[in-house]
Symmetry: C2
């Protein structure tokens, strides 16, 4: 709560003035001549969504190499990794049945990595379950049922990622917990507070000891409707999903570098993930993070700033349903005994930045907070403890690398997250660019002063 | 720049705890059971835009009285004032002429309060002018021309209201300055950085000593197109606008009150303006401010908070093209010798709040900054010097009332400001509600502790 007020000035006033001017120059270049928005348009409109293993994955990899070269990366390379290859396999559907006949359609979207129902679908009574506590109390009623988790996204959280963390176990663990008691399928209320009815997908986790059952997310309006029906009468549902896990395939992290001119062995990573779910265009999640990371490199070159340390832009593969890109990157870093001093990820949407969250030592936290006055003119007012990103997490766990995550305003993120509404038009040019400004400023400061 | 870091704690810890709990209770009620979003939907979708003097003005006044009563206002009344009555009078049009014939249409929208061209329109050579400096240098070329001001909205400003203040003289003074040198009409580049081509209207000011000439705003894409054409060749334009100023009519401030139970004579005003331009739905400008002000009153009643001072919600008439509502309110306050201790306006859009701007004494500034820790959990991180609102400005000038304005994130405001894209769908429910939370918290603190 008081994070934004702890200002410990380590830097001398002349140093701050020079930094302030350099950051202002980067901001001007990004706001007046930036490529982030145009890059995002190409990625989302010419390529589209980018589920791991889909043809678009490889189009996006090719585009990313080109975009990094155009931004001025000295070296651009691909880092191969084995990735899971899940396919949706067709349109998901569900119906409320009356007298054995389809009466009301429900808007559903199978969860990522799930098995399908088979071509005939599943027909079964539905059991409304509001919480895992209720699941345990009613475990004897579950056998043969379609369990419908109607756990609500809690609007009381001011930062919506807290509501997501609160609700997401119903998506990730819910199917397995219901299957353990004999459920035949699961529907999950979408993790969102949108006003529309678009279902929001996302990964689920099976465990080998429990049967794998089909599972899908339900749009919010339909979830309310189904909950009202299920509270009043015995309901039977029909659902059909078609998901299949194919054999692992190969995808690539796309890496572009500016080599440091004083400490080239010290690596600073900045990135986002190139993959997305297979609905919408993966614009906020995480096209935005990718184009912002590229923009950091571009603006360094554009204003003629030569980094002291090596700046490495990494567009990670397979964040959404496997994290294999992030794991591979850390694995190779360890194998090569690379020195990774800092990694920054943008994977919380291309909205107006409010601050950063850090996974660093207390001493490092003091250092980054001392930089806050340099960032405040650009709308940054929070330097929070805790944060990073899914793709850079392994770097911290494997090598102890200091991490940060960009924290944009979170109010609109879960309106569009993993849904067909995550499209280019939902991204505001200036908001996207201000995120890139904040990232460039932080990377510049870490490069200049170390951490 | 350092405003968010000056924390002077006047309040004891137990007092802060009680305040913190009460503000949390208000936030919960607004986020879970609020009426702001539903009220905005009614105002924008059932009534629509509300240009002063239009039939919708009076529908909105009737709606506002009802909404205030439903929110729990003890007294609801109308305060009449004479208002200007400008009408657009028809569809505005402009064309690039080639060989005397209409060749390319331009998207224009007459500025508020302007005279029309007459039914035959105006046909004249166009003179591209990039700044007032250029206007002065080329004053001998202006006679008989349509002056096209192509002054650009400056993307370098981080807070977009600064770009607006920088550019808006071209709209408000530009027509008169060009008319002084014999221009027959004016086109103004829209004050916006939107990616679309919607023109953005807004008021202009004529002076009696200079001929009143027609003036219209031009969409950004068309402004770029016209500037490119006008730089390369001599161009003739045709434009027709139909604006007329009718006789003054009567409109009303709508006022709802909760009477204070200790110092009823001390009045705290919270408001927005009910009128809007005649395009779009006046959703952000300023339907949002209206429903947020009503929400402050509603939540006080809903959680059972009885104010010590009198809380007065005022939905002002005629902010956009006359300010007569705000002037009337201050005039009556002075005539009745009312004691107005504080006024808060929300008129910068229904976006995520970042803070408040204050027009107060240095001592009062210290007091409001001491409240920042109570507001930070709700995303407020700035308590800035300078701010208020157009409608409450006269209260400060006439009675010395302390003022504040809600300062939401400003990145998207000028995408939609005074354009047909300012519609309900452009407002996010949670962003709107968080603005109401911040306003309710500030009004509560002023009510409890005085200022």
């Amino acid at each position: 709560m008081f994070t934004c007020c702890l200002l410990i000035n380590f830097l001398s006033v002349p140093a701050q003035n020079a930094d302030s001017l350099l950051i202002r120059a980067m901001a001007d270049d990004i706001l007046l001549h930036g490529k982030a928005y145009a890059n995002l348009k190409t990625l989302t409109k010419q390529i589209g969504n980018r589920l791991t293993g889909s043809p678009q994955t490889y189009m996006a990899e090719a585009w990313a190499q080109k975009a990094l070269r155009e931004a001025g990366a000295g070296q651009v390379r691909l880092q191969a990794c084995l990735v899971p290859h899940w396919v949706r396999g067709g349109k998901d559907e569900a119906w409320v049945l009356q007298g054995g006949k389809k009466s009301q359609p429900l808007e559903i979207l199978a969860l990522g990595n799930t098995v399908g129902t088979g071509p005939k679908g599943i027909q079964a009574p539905v059991l409304l379950i509001n919480s895992f506590e209720e699941l345990e109390l009613r475990k004897n009623e579950i056998k043969g049922k379609i369990v419908f988790y109607n756990y609500r996204f809690n609007d009381r959280f001011i930062k919506t990622f807290e509501a997501y963390r609160d609700a997401v176990p119903y998506r990730s663990e819910g199917p397995t917990r219901a299957a353990k008691y004999g459920a035949v399928a699961v529907l999950v209320r979408s993790m969102s507070h949108a006003a529309d009815n678009h279902p929001h997908t996302g990964g689920t986790r099976y465990v080998d000891s429990v049967p794998k059952i089909p599972a899908a997310a339900l749009g919010l309006q339909d979830a309310d409707r189904l909950a009202a029906l299920a509270a009043n009468e015995k309901l039977t549902l029909y659902m059909r999903t078609n998901g299949r896990m194919l054999r692992d395939t190969v995808a690539h992290n796309v890496i572009g570098e500016l080599t440091g001119n004083e400490f080239p062995e010290q690596i600073i990573t900045v990135g986002g993930h190139l993959d997305s779910w297979d609905v919408g265009e993966g614009a906020h999640d995480d096209g935005s993070g990718c184009v912002q990371a590229i923009e950091v490199l571009r603006v360094f070159k554009a204003i003629g700033y030569t980094p002291r340390r090596t700046i490495r832009v990494v567009l990670f593969a397979n964040e959404e349903n496997g994290l294999r890109g992030g794991l591979k990157y850390a694995e190779e870093a360890r194998a090569k005994k690379e020195q990774h001093i800092f990694a920054l990820e943008s994977d919380a949407g291309g909205f107006t930045p409010r601050g950063f969250g850090f996974t660093v030592s207390a001493e490092q936290m003091n250092t980054v907070r001392s930089w806050l006055p340099l960032l405040m003119p650009f709308g940054i007012c929070e330097m929070n403890v805790g944060g990073g990103g899914a793709d850079i997490g392994p770097l911290n766990r494997e090598l102890g690398t200091a991490l940060a995550g960009l924290q944009p305003d979170s109010q609109r993120y879960f309106d569009i997250h993993h849904a067909r509404s995550d499209v280019f038009e939902a991204v505001n040019k200036r908001e996207l660019e201000l995120g890139a400004v904040a990232m460039a400023a932080l990377i510049y400061l870490v490069d200049k002063y170390g951490l």
